[in-house]
């Protein structure tokens, strides 16, 4: 299991400002190790964020997303105290889900 995500969700007027920092290698599959062997690609492919059971963002990523990915977005229709859940799946089939309370 990968390290937890850091999720910050804050009300900004009537919108929720969400910032997520995930812990992931995001290996591109282009790099070579010291022996000249290609390091296989290992990266997050799907990201889903839900709030109160409603999907507020989904993303498909390629290996070009930077290591330890950062993602920010804004949505409306939620209030302080609601929970936001973020889930990612990588190309190895690993999953990680974390939640945060909107402040």
């Amino acid at each position: 299991m990968a390290d937890p995500m850091k999720i910050r969700a804050k009300m900004e007027g009537d919108k929720v400002d969400v910032r997520i920092l995930m812990a992931h290698e995001m290996e591109t599959g282009q790099r070579k190790d010291a022996q000249g062997k290609v390091i296989p690609a290992w990266f997050i492919q799907n990201v889903t964020a839900t709030c109160n059971g409603k999907t507020v963002l989904t993303a498909e990523w390629g290996p070009a997303v930077a290591k330890n990915p950062f993602l920010a977005f804004k949505f409306s229709g939620a209030k302080a105290g609601d929970k936001i859940v973020v889930t990612w799946t990588d190309n190895h089939g690993d999953k990680r889900s974390d939640e945060a309370t909107i402040a």
Partner: protein
């Protein structure tokens, strides 16, 4: 997760082989990766091909309604921050593409109703390149904006 997929991955070890297999009909696009648009992420350097793989029927139109905010010169290509804002009504999708990366498509975001057409993320750039932000509007049409970002130190090789 099915086992065949992993073996195929191990055996192939590269997207080029996978693409060949896909071409030969051994692997239908969308079969190996349930929800991940492999076809789109396999596109090499053509904006039009990438848009087609994302479901576009025509070439995307350039639009001034899309804004890309990023540094003009990125010192470290491994982490280049991008902020994309779309003022196109009914924005459903925002994709970020880097023309000179090994594969053009970097990330694709679905924007459900209620979510702002605004995305802030960090991507890798192998070298100085044009970056495209492609937006899919409610009418199914694709629009794009581009910006050149100079990279002093690439983020893909090693």
């Amino acid at each position: 997760m099915d086992k065949g997929r992993r073996q195929v991955l191990k055996a192939a070890g590269g997207s080029a082989v996978l693409a060949l297999m896909a071409a030969a009909g051994l692997l239908r696009p969308g079969q190996a990766w349930a929800e991940w648009n492999k076809q789109a992420f396999d596109v090499r350097n053509s904006l039009n091909d990438a848009v087609k793989a994302l479901g576009g029927t025509a070439a995307p139109q350039q639009s001034a309604e899309i804004a890309i905010k990023s540094p003009d010169i990125a010192e470290n290509g491994a982490v280049v921050p991008f902020e994309v804002t779309s003022k196109i009504p009914g924005t459903q999708n925002i994709a970020l593409l880097v023309e000179k990366n090994p594969n053009i498509l970097a990330a694709n975001f679905d924007i459900p109703q209620g979510t702002d057409p605004w995305i802030n993320t960090r991507i890798k750039m192998g070298q100085t390149s044009n970056v495209f932000a492609v937006v899919k509007a409610a009418d199914g049409k694709f629009y794009y904006a581009s910006k050149e970002v100079k990279v002093t130190l690439g983020g893909c090789g090693g």
